[in-house]
């Protein structure tokens, strides 16, 4: 017993960490500063805060209570940003659903997450309508700016009316405990059905502050929301913007013209995006380009961008920082933080180093690459092991799946199932994925899922899917197929079959017929298939 053990926590000296404190403060200190811009719509921090309060109040009026789930299927619009504040302010948990999913998977997620309300963007209403068929759920329709009234309405109330019905001055409470859930994000379902990853307020707060510290974000940055907000809550950047009273520029489409126009019009200083976005900028038509005389800072994650792409885009005025993370880690938790000694490298060598994933961000307490006995691999940049990490920006766990949670947290570390090497000073580089995830245009595609579909085709005897390099998408799925004896199928038939049974972006872009290489025990040797793609 120490003399220092006598103190109890009080409301004066112990308050829950939450990103909700950020928006309250931004609205107080910088009420008139632009918070969200979307086309002709502009909201200040005071307005965004008021609208979020109204959303929270309206949800409460409709019976939403602490710990309920509110699902969202939306593009990156002001409504999506407001949902990131208003839904947690109501005490509910935000379940932002990947807009590219098919109706069946959306339906599964609504069931599994027990969503009590569902905010649906007009553009995404058709697949949402299928998913909610026959379901008792409060649907709030978001009309796009051009379309009012909303021709795609599938519920009974429009978001605008719903928000207007809420009292901006209604009391809302900070979470009782910073460990309370704030968001539910489903994985891409590499081994069957997607898993529900639960985030807490503490983690979301620390993820935002960690990004600000490690990416070096000053107050009032101009941020273009290229990363979908349904991806790990847009890497938690919306919450970070509230902490520094930044300006979020929303966009429904991501094209070179949109990015250059935003830079030109809004003086965008920062954005995050998949490597595909970098390629897009690099290969933009001259007509779409606009000059700018400052550096635009870009975070990129997913399949490491080729050094040539990094090198090319930096010449255009973009400073790219590679990050790595998973749904389970609130997005990026590893960042390739720049080191001054790289200044002396030539451009190509520097680009190669900058294409590494990097070292643990400030919110992560431990990042290791371990062998199958749980020992650290040497820091030699060669020995492959599994990335494991621990820290406050690791999920609470998988919803209703204690076995998967226990497995993921085995031995007190979160197991990423990603394979990497460790370079000196804690910088990791991804080499492969334990489960052969294909990262296409920033989306994770499970080869296992595509193989499952292929195996349902009547002519297919055996199928294996691996990633094939693609200039536009980074990676696309390539299927290798052994046909049944006497059966026949064309590449187009196989691709069409997949399109019918899978989200469109998951279909193989290329099909190779022939005998598959196998081990003595009959296991398909995927590394040989990859090698055959050159």
């Amino acid at each position: 017993m120490s003399i220092f053990d006598a103190f109890e926590k009080t409301p004066a000296n112990h308050t829950p960490l939450t990103p909700l404190s950020f928006i309250k403060r931004a609205a107080l200190m910088f009420p008139d500063h632009d918070a969200v811009i979307y086309g002709d719509r502009r909201y200040t921090w005071s307005q965004t805060y008021a609208r979020s309060c109204q959303l929270a109040a309206a949800l409460a009026n409709h019976g939403i209570r602490r710990g309920d789930t509110v699902a969202v299927l939306c593009a990156n619009t002001p409504e999506m940003v407001e949902s990131h504040f208003g839904i947690p302010m109501s005490g509910a948990v935000l379940n932002s659903i990947n807009t590219r999913l098919d109706a069946d998977t959306i339906s599964y997620i609504l069931d599994h997450g027990e969503a009590k309300a569902f905010i649906v963007d007009a553009e995404l209403a058709p697949q949402a309508a299928q998913a909610v068929a026959g379901r008792d759920i409060l649907i709030i329709d978001v009309a796009d700016l051009q379309d009012n009234p909303n021709p795609n309405r599938i519920g009974t109330i429009d978001y605008a009316d719903f928000v207007a019905s809420g009292d901006a001055n209604a009391a809302w409470e900070m979470p009782a405990d910073e460990w309370d859930a704030i968001a539910l994000n489903y994985t891409s379902g590499s081994t069957g059905r997607p898993k529900g990853v639960v985030y807490h307020h503490r983690g979301a707060h620390l993820m935002a502050s960690s990004t600000i510290m490690d990416w070096g974000l000053p107050r009032h940055v101009k941020y273009l929301y290229v990363v979908p907000l349904f991806h790990c809550n847009g890497w938690c950047h919306g919450w970070a913007m509230a902490a520094i009273a930044g300006t979020i520029v929303c966009t429904r489409a991501v094209t070179p013209a949109v990015i250059y126009d935003a830079i030109d019009q809004h003086k965008i200083t920062h954005f995050g995006g998949a490597p595909i976005v970098l390629g897009m900028i690099l290969n933009a038509d001259d007509a779409d380009r606009k000059p700018f005389d400052y550096t635009v800072n870009v975070l990129t994650a997913g399949a490491p961008p080729p050094a040539a792409v990094l090198e090319g885009i930096e010449k255009l005025g973009f400073d790219v920082t590679q990050v790595y993370g998973l749904t389970e880690s609130y997005g990026h938790t590893v960042m390739c933080s720049y080191k001054d000694e790289w200044n002396t490298l030539n451009t190509t060598d520097r680009a190669n180093i900058k294409a590494r994933q990097g070292a643990a961000m400030v919110a992560i307490d431990g990042l290791r690459v371990i062998d199958d006995k749980g020992n650290d691999v040497p820091e030699d940049g060669e020995t492959i092991g599994e990335i494991v990490m621990r820290g406050n920006t690791v999920m609470k766990g998988y919803l209703k799946n204690p076995d998967a949670t226990a497995k993921a947290f085995d031995n007190g570390w979160f197991h990423s199932e990603d394979l990497a090497v460790m370079h000196p000073n804690g910088y990791v580089q991804i080499k492969d994925r334990l489960k052969d995830i294909i990262i296409s245009g920033g989306e994770n595609i499970s080869s296992v899922e595509i193989e499952g579909t292929l195996h349902r085709h009547p002519a297919v005897s055996l199928a294996a899917v691996v990633a094939m390099a693609d200039d536009k998408w980074g990676e696309v799925p390539c299927a290798f197929i052994e046909l049944k004896e006497g059966a026949s199928a064309t590449e187009d038939e196989i691709i069409d079959f997949c399109r019918e049974h899978l989200a469109g972006f998951k279909r193989p872009k290329h099909v190779v017929f022939g005998e598959l290489p196998k081990t003595a025990t009959g296991k398909i040797q995927k590394f040989e298939l990859r090698a055959s793609l050159g």
Copy 2:
């Protein structure tokens, strides 16, 4: 019961917040980057980390255990920086003592804090020797760089040998709980014996990250340690530097020449200091000045700097940000964060606004100015009330003083005993300490307001105003003034000047010329001025 309530905290997803994680990470990621520079001595982050680990190990070898107190009486040297890491790494609590205190008060603090070890700077050994007389305590002597062997040694072991005796690779543990104490800082004891303010790891971590976010500190800043590290642990800036792998330049003396030399030699980008330091720079001899072609960022706290001083120093290339805080709040928790709309103001108006204390920093959840019934005063910039706050950077409490702790945390808010007005948008402006307000003929007069006016007089270098007993009015203001070198002014001239710029009843009725008594941190000791009035 919600579906989200099922998760337990594990070592994978819940780790204690502590500034110790910062140095571990800095040493891993930026091992060769300069951490601490002091004269000819230079330590990288890897070296500073190793030396801190050695200090922790040596303390453990000498029987220091979790929750023990280790006192430090040191100037801003590398040893002082290392103590801020090594002592908490040993599990002990760092009690950094004000170097200007008399032996009797130091002795009281060593008793009250139950210090088991005492690290003493050679320069401060005489008063430490008196304080420890007859005491059973492990004394570790710090020799200054020039003096080895140390002629002032009062113990049996030198710091250098002590550190060398510790194993740099010995295991040390993160705090078991982020609520564990990290530091013990005594108040200046304006009303009797000093009180022991206890900080915890969580607060120290959040104080550092809050400073980085709100002051906008990028990685690798060059920081000159002007603020004494015994003052609220140097505003927790040493811990912040570890989070962003900055470089700390130590200095034993604070003079205009030291500051300009450090800017010239080390390209200092940031420092914090009392307003007296600003005045020092403003009034520096031309011979001490050195040119620089970038902006040096300065935090200043304590008595609000007169607008005239702010205005003058900004013209020299320093960007000054006013902050406010107390020992009880880890130093600054309120910052005068700049608002773009101030750009349109003239220099004097802008300086006046920048002399306000500001709004709550990101780690503080609530900042209010309340009347004596506990209600918020209007945001009118006029109505005076007491500043209260709540948040994670408020102390655990006062050591062995539950009554004072309970009183300070009355009603769930920390009571500052500082009087202020609330301007719009949460910006507060200090008007006085509760005990410094002058009540004259029933009117409240702010001594700070009179001081601001006095500082605009061309002959005045430094001014302080206190209440003087008066038969007719109860109290009247009395001004104490240090004149600029070579300048002169009479009492009548000063009073007339005030009458022109202030309401008549606020003018000082009496003026005393001479040097003002100051604390170690440059704070004017008003109690001495009051005492001089008899």
